[in-house]
Symmetry: C2
Subunit: 187 residues, 2 copies
DNA sequence: TAGTGTGATGACACGGCGTGTCATCACAGA
DNA sequence: TCTGTGATGACACGCCGTGTCATCACACTA
């Protein structure tokens, strides 16, 4: 038996999610979380930058994943095709298998302005990764920023609609529909 | 002479902006601000919800302004025309006359992740106001959300480019150019 | 003129967040 | 057997933001 039980980070995350579900985000203190995980308060902040971050631990590698995908795509790929294909991969690998967790998180975020801000920053981080990807591919900065922001708008508007639909509609199909709507609106 | 000097809120705001410019946002404490303004710490939080909010006090009425504009537009107005005309008014009345202040704020925001999150929430609030405006005009919710997010993308991408240009290029012209770029990219 | 209510501020206590710092000690590797 | 490393514990601390009650100039009323 080792000095400490393993998987401290995972225990902290699980304890936090449980407590958030039981009593809400704001009503849960970090000492409560660490008590349930059998650790000290200080250790929580060694694994997570702050109390909000624990809710987004599973998405930490998404921006890097986006960057890799954009870097590996053939140079001939058109920006729009790149977006659509990239969003498809992100949708299928990161969102579709986690619908329940995403719904639960959305409820927590709805109820707390601090979490809303953190959520927006995660979107911004994704936009930033996409923007850098486009710029690396030689697209001029303003255009890259515009394409990146539009990509993030597409995925999140579609994600929201997908979470609102009870059945198992494919997120990717909603993305395509949203893109068509946008094209139509800008006609 | 009254019991307290008048304009407590304005004095707090000015003291805060001075101190942020002198030593940065994070390094400035609320007691420092209130000491310079000749008030107590508690009073600061009676005028501003938190330390970040003082930087956005001048933009408090923008969402309501957007809502009013959208409600007063003729029912026949097309969504895209509404957006472009609305962004033009916002640009000319709220942004163009305040370029120096907006540049200063952008520098502060760049240096502090907490301020970045607050900044994103202000964008989200604007998006929300636009979304409600479109929904009130009878546009279905997903489409309204998409149009609102796209509007906010347009204004902020253009605003960023405008702030980067040293001369006095019109923000509205940049918005039109950005819209053309977006159309071209999606076309 | 006296009385009364109102609204902004002061004063004070307090819980919670997040950080800095040093000690502890199982484990791995030499 | 020794030594270094890395994760954790323990503790102090500053700052943020809130709750609560007291204070008191001013306006309003009779």
């Amino acid at each position: 038996m080792s000095r400490w039980r393993p998987d401290a980070r995972e225990r902290l995350q699980q304890a936090a999610l449980e407590l958030f579900a039981e009593q809400g985000f704001a009503a849960t203190t970090v000492p409560e979380i660490t008590a349930r995980a059998g650790l000290t308060t200080r250790t929580f902040f060694r694994h997570f930058a702050d109390k909000r971050e624990v809710l987004y631990a599973d998405d930490a590698e998404v921006p890097a994943m986006v960057a890799t995908m954009m870097a590996e795509a053939p140079p001939s790929a058109e920006p729009l095709a790149l977006i659509v294909e990239g969003l498809r991969t992100v949708a299928e690998t990161r969102f579709e298998p986690r619908k329940a967790a995403l719904l639960a998180r959305r409820e927590l975020v709805r109820a707390d302005t601090g979490l809303q801000e953190r959520d927006l920053r995660k979107r911004a981080a994704m936009s930033e990764a996409i923007r850098e990807g486009f710029q690396t591919r030689g697209i001029d900065p303003p255009r890259a920023a515009l394409l990146a922001e539009t990509s993030v708008t597409l995925i999140y508007v579609s994600l929201s609609e997908w979470l609102d639909t009870p059945n198992d509609r494919k997120l990717y199909d909603i993305i395509l529909k949203t893109l068509a709507t946008l094209r139509n609106a800008l006609g």
